[in-house]
């Protein structure tokens, strides 16, 4: 579905992602690793927010390198950024509408998608008139996921969705993601490996801009190296 071939990215002279090749299949994929491993940089590269030094990225057969960020989103890639990154002065309703209105393939079905999103996150419907910036962290995360779903993506990318949330909310969120993967492919980057492995089919462990371990969720759960380094066992 999403192919990253030999990509390298750097900030100034500092390399962050080194010659990385990664195949994201349909279903759900986890990208795990500590701070500074290069997870967010890969997402930014997929969106075209960070230029590639080498390599190429293609999505469902279309090369993304020369496409602008909004054109990549129009192809069916939606991202929920790490810091929730809502439009804080817009209402919940407006945030959701913006998510669907600007993607040609989703535009005609905004009303229906809105209902579907509100079924997944009922709290959003109750807060339609509230300014997004005044919501709690967990609600903002739900809104960010809801806004991304409004684009009816083929691939939903979530950048550290558990960041700054209390464990019970993280647990609920991953349960929702687990349900959602029937309808949309999901790629999630996380430091919280234990919780994430519940929701993904396959996972990749990153360190210093490189993939060091790849396997199914079961394989990673039982890998002693992963257990020791990322699950605190």
């Amino acid at each position: 579905m999403l192919e990253l071939k030999n990509i390298s990215c750097s900030y100034g002279r500092m390399p962050v992602v080194r010659n990385l090749t990664l195949d994201i299949e349909e279903g759900s994929t986890g990208l795990f690793g500590p701070n500074g491993a290069g997870k967010t940089t890969i997402i930014n590269a997929i969106l075209g927010l960070v230029p590639l030094k080498t390599g190429s990225i293609s999505f469902r057969g279309t090369e993304l390198n020369k496409l602008k960020t909004h054109e990549r989103v129009h192809l069916g890639i939606s991202v929920v950024p790490q810091e929730r990154e809502l439009f804080p002065f817009m209402t919940v309703y407006e945030n959701l509408i913006v998510g669907g209105q600007n993607v040609p393939s989703a535009r005609d079905r905004v009303a229906r998608t809105l209902e579907e999103v509100c079924e997944i996150f009922p709290i959003l419907k109750e807060r339609f008139e509230q300014k997004a910036g005044t919501m709690s962290g967990g609600q903002q995360r739900q809104l960010a996921v809801g806004r991304a779903l409004m684009a009816r993506p083929k691939l939903l990318i979530l950048d550290e969705p558990s960041l700054g949330l209390q464990p019970s909310i993280v647990h609920d969120l991953f349960s929702i993601l687990k349900d959602m993967k029937k309808d949309v492919s999901i790629m999630v980057t996380e430091q919280n490996v234990r919780e994430s492995l519940r929701a993904v089919d396959t996972g990749h462990i990153m360190e210093n801009g490189e993939i060091i371990i790849t396997g199914t969720a079961d394989e990673l759960s039982n890998n002693p190296e992963v257990e020791k380094a990322y699950m605190g066992l």
Binding site: L47, L49, K68, H70, P81, E85, F87, M90, N102, E129
Partner: protein, 315 residues
């Protein structure tokens, strides 16, 4: 939720009715009041157009530039191509819009202060070109119109400006209710997230810049048709940038009614003050703006909205 929506719809209607009354009143007075009305409406149109662009977060100081360009386009088309006054206004809007489109394709890659300073410089470049292209523009002496709209009759020209203002108010409200509004607000709130939500930032900024410049050009053309002459110094005067900006800040940004209310209040007050302290009215403008920014940064409409919401939450 329904009652809130209902209340929110009531206030624009009240503001609208008040606005219509204020616009109609000069019809029942003399030419002097109608002349003030025309000037206030010109500034109101400029203020609304400035607000329509600032909704995207892009601060433009290019109002006087496109205003002057429009006024010259109207006069030169009337003199050289014998366009009638109304066609010349439409022509001026097209010229200003086309130039904004071409210039915007380049300068809209800039953001914040860089964009603001570039638009200010653009206005100055337009003025210098007009000033020095003597064979076409008449140079520093300017140009005279052979014939004024409605032969300069006071009531019809005032009616023309009222109609013009109503069209711009409707256009601004359309902007507020369309997909453009959400896109522009998203761009203002967070450009990276806007891009990541599928918004073609460049396209929407170019639409907003082109449409607002066309409005400013048409306002300049209307003004030239009212007064019958253009000179570089009068048509590209910095007042056409600064006064609409002050009016919008007073009335409240990011709405149609903010600039309308700001223009009526500051415009009428300015005319009144001119009688007692000629040129000193600009000092009073400055003091008002400082006070508004310090104590009422959301302007009159924003403050009224907040008070209303407070009142509703106490009910």
């Amino acid at each position: 939720m329904n009652s809130t929506v209902q209340k929110n719809k009531t206030w624009p209607v009240i503001f609208g009715i008040l606005g219509v009354i204020v616009m109609i009143l000069p019809f029942f007075s003399g030419p002097y009041i109608q002349s003030i009305g025309r000037t206030v409406i010109t500034y109101m149109i400029l203020a609304i157009s400035w607000d329509m662009l600032i909704r995207s977060g892009q601060l433009s100081f290019g109002l006087a530039g496109f205003f002057g360009l429009g006024s010259y386009a109207a006069v030169l088309s009337a003199v050289n191509l014998h366009f009638n006054p109304f066609i010349s206004i439409v022509f001026a809007a097209l010229v200003a819009g086309l130039i904004a489109f071409l210039v915007g394709a380049v300068v809209l890659r800039l953001r914040g202060m860089y964009f603001a300073i570039t638009t200010l410089a653009l206005g100055e470049i337009f003025r210098i070109i007009i000033h020095n292209w003597t064979s076409l523009t008449g140079g520093p002496n300017g140009k005279l119109l052979p014939k004024l709209a409605f032969d300069g009759a006071s009531i019809p020209t005032y009616a023309m400006m009222v109609l013009f203002a109503l069209i711009i108010i409707a256009l601004s409200e359309y902007f507020k209710r369309s997909r453009i509004h959400y896109a522009l607000t998203a761009i203002r709130d967070n450009e990276i997230v806007a891009k990541s939500s599928g918004i073609n930032i460049y396209k929407y900024l170019l639409i907003a810049f082109t449409v607002t410049a066309a409005i400013q050009g048409a306002a300049g053309a209307g003004f030239a048709q009212l007064y019958g002459f253009v000179t570089p110094e009068s048509s590209f005067n910095a007042n056409y940038t600064l006064i609409p900006l002050a009016m919008t800040l007073l009335g409240g940004m990011y709405s149609t009614w903010g600039p309308v209310i700001g223009a009526v209040l500051l415009g009428v007050l300015g005319e009144f003050l001119k009688l007692y302290i000629p040129y000193g009215h600009l000092v009073v403008y400055g003091i008002i703006i400082i006070l508004v920014l310090l104590f009422m940064p959301w302007g009159i409409v924003g403050m009224a909205g907040r008070l209303l919401k407070k009142g509703e939450s106490h009910e």
